[in-house]
């Protein structure tokens, strides 16, 4: 048995669920499995690097993210969904201020997934933390567990969602690291794209596991820190200058 198969759970093995499959119908109700060519890239960990020295008083990433994913406010700031937000920091000693975007930090050990009673919060193999809304029951434990306040709950019926970003009442949602773009192989996210086109070029997207990627080289050269590194969550989003 190959190493890959050895890691399958019994249930996965029996149901064939672990194979990258696509159904081929041989008769009504009978499906043949075939390997799909595309799946999450192996050995990859997607991440973001945000240089808060460059990040200024602009909102391009927030606007772009919400436009890309069809997130509309209802003019109720206390309950409106928020996938990414700008946070202003001020050092009371010096009065020095800076502003930086905070979104789901795509932790290696996500507390949201730990507390989820249905398994709806999960971490994909390539490091993206997502909510499977098919199984989310809207209990909001993950929102309480997340130290970054990254998740939102949808309180009202929605219409006009983006085709690639299903969203609905009674489920929790957060930044998906533009998983639809990654699966299309685009290698960037809406916020990073907007930051370079309209903003100050403070954001970098890339594979943290690839030592030759721009993000890894930048991290190797200038370093980067995690917010609340003391929690040991090893987030995929890193910051410089904080």
């Amino acid at each position: 048995m190959s190493r890959k198969n050895a890691s399958l759970s019994r249930r996965q093995f029996i149901t064939g669920a672990a194979a990258a499959v696509a159904g081929v119908t041989v008769a009504p109700g009978v499906f043949l499995m075939r390997s799909a060519e595309e799946k999450t890239a192996e050995g990859v960990r997607w991440g973001l690097l945000i240089d808060s020295n460059r990040c200024g008083d602009c909102n391009a990433c927030v606007t772009a993210c919400h436009a890309e994913n069809g997130v509309h406010g209802m003019d109720r700031p206390r309950t409106d969904a928020q996938w990414i937000r700008k946070v202003d920091l001020r050092d009371p000693g010096t009065g020095h201020t800076r502003s930086l975007p905070v979104m789901c930090q795509h932790c290696e050990n996500p507390p949201c997934a730990d507390v989820c009673p249905t398994g709806a919060s999960f971490r994909r193999e390539d490091g993206i933390v997502l909510v499977d809304k098919h199984t989310c029951i809207g209990c909001r434990y993950c929102m309480m567990a997340c130290p970054y306040k990254a998740r939102s709950f949808i309180h009202e019926p929605l219409a006009g969602q983006a085709a690639h970003a299903p969203r609905g009442k009674g489920t929790v949602e957060s930044c998906t690291l533009c998983v639809h773009r990654i699966d299309r192989g685009e290698g960037t996210t809406a916020c990073v794209e907007a930051c370079h086109e309209l903003g100050n070029g403070a954001m970098t997207f890339g594979d943290l596991n690839d030592p030759d990627s721009a993000i890894s080289r930048e991290l190797a050269e200038h370093g980067g820190s995690a917010i609340r590194a003391d929690l040991g969550l090893n987030p995929g989003v890193r910051y410089q200058g904080i």
Binding site: G23, P157, A163, P166
Partner: protein
């Protein structure tokens, strides 16, 4: 007990619980008209034979959705968005079932599963075609003039056969 009386009661019960309701049901047996397919968004062909997809579309979608969400394994033949792109008119609303390909049949069959509380209920692209589907449209499918760009782009990426000479004119 008087045997005649008890027989009479038996007959009454038989009538009350058996024959009368049955005959009422028989009276209701008019012809049932299935909902019309919206011509505008009929699609030229499906990704599976019609009898298979009619019976098993729910199974196929449920079966593959976990792989799509959790493993990033997307089968363009069986993508939810592809169904919508091809079969739902751009002005359809699932809240108005008579306009919506999926909702009309679900309502007719009293199926209450509603994917559209979360999923977009209408195509985001204006052109109705299998946008990601390696199944090319049927050879006799007539391309609209405003779909030529899309077709050419898809043909470049190898997703579609290039539009035929007849269609481009």
């Amino acid at each position: 007990m008087d045997p005649v009386k008890s027989l009479g009661r038996g007959v009454l019960r038989w009538l009350g619980f058996g024959v009368l309701p049955l005959s009422l049901l028989l009276g209701c047996g008019g012809s049932v008209e299935p909902p019309d397919m919206t011509e505008e968004a009929r699609g030229d062909q499906c990704v599976e034979p019609v009898d298979v997809i009619r019976k098993d579309h729910g199974k196929i979608l449920t079966h593959e959705r976990d792989h799509a969400v959790r493993d990033g394994v997307r089968n363009p033949d069986h993508g939810f968005v592809s169904c919508i792109d091809c079969h739902v008119a751009s002005d359809a609303r699932h809240s108005e079932p008579e306009t919506h390909f999926c909702a009309s049949c679900h309502t007719f069959n009293a199926v209450s599963v509603d994917c559209f509380e979360c999923h977009r209920d209408r195509p985001s692209a204006s052109a109705h075609l299998h946008s990601l589907n390696p199944h090319a449209p049927a050879p006799e499918f007539a391309w609209e003039a405003d779909q030529q760009d899309v077709t050419a782009t898809l043909a470049e990426t190898g997703l579609l056969l290039p539009p035929s000479e007849d269609a481009t004119q």
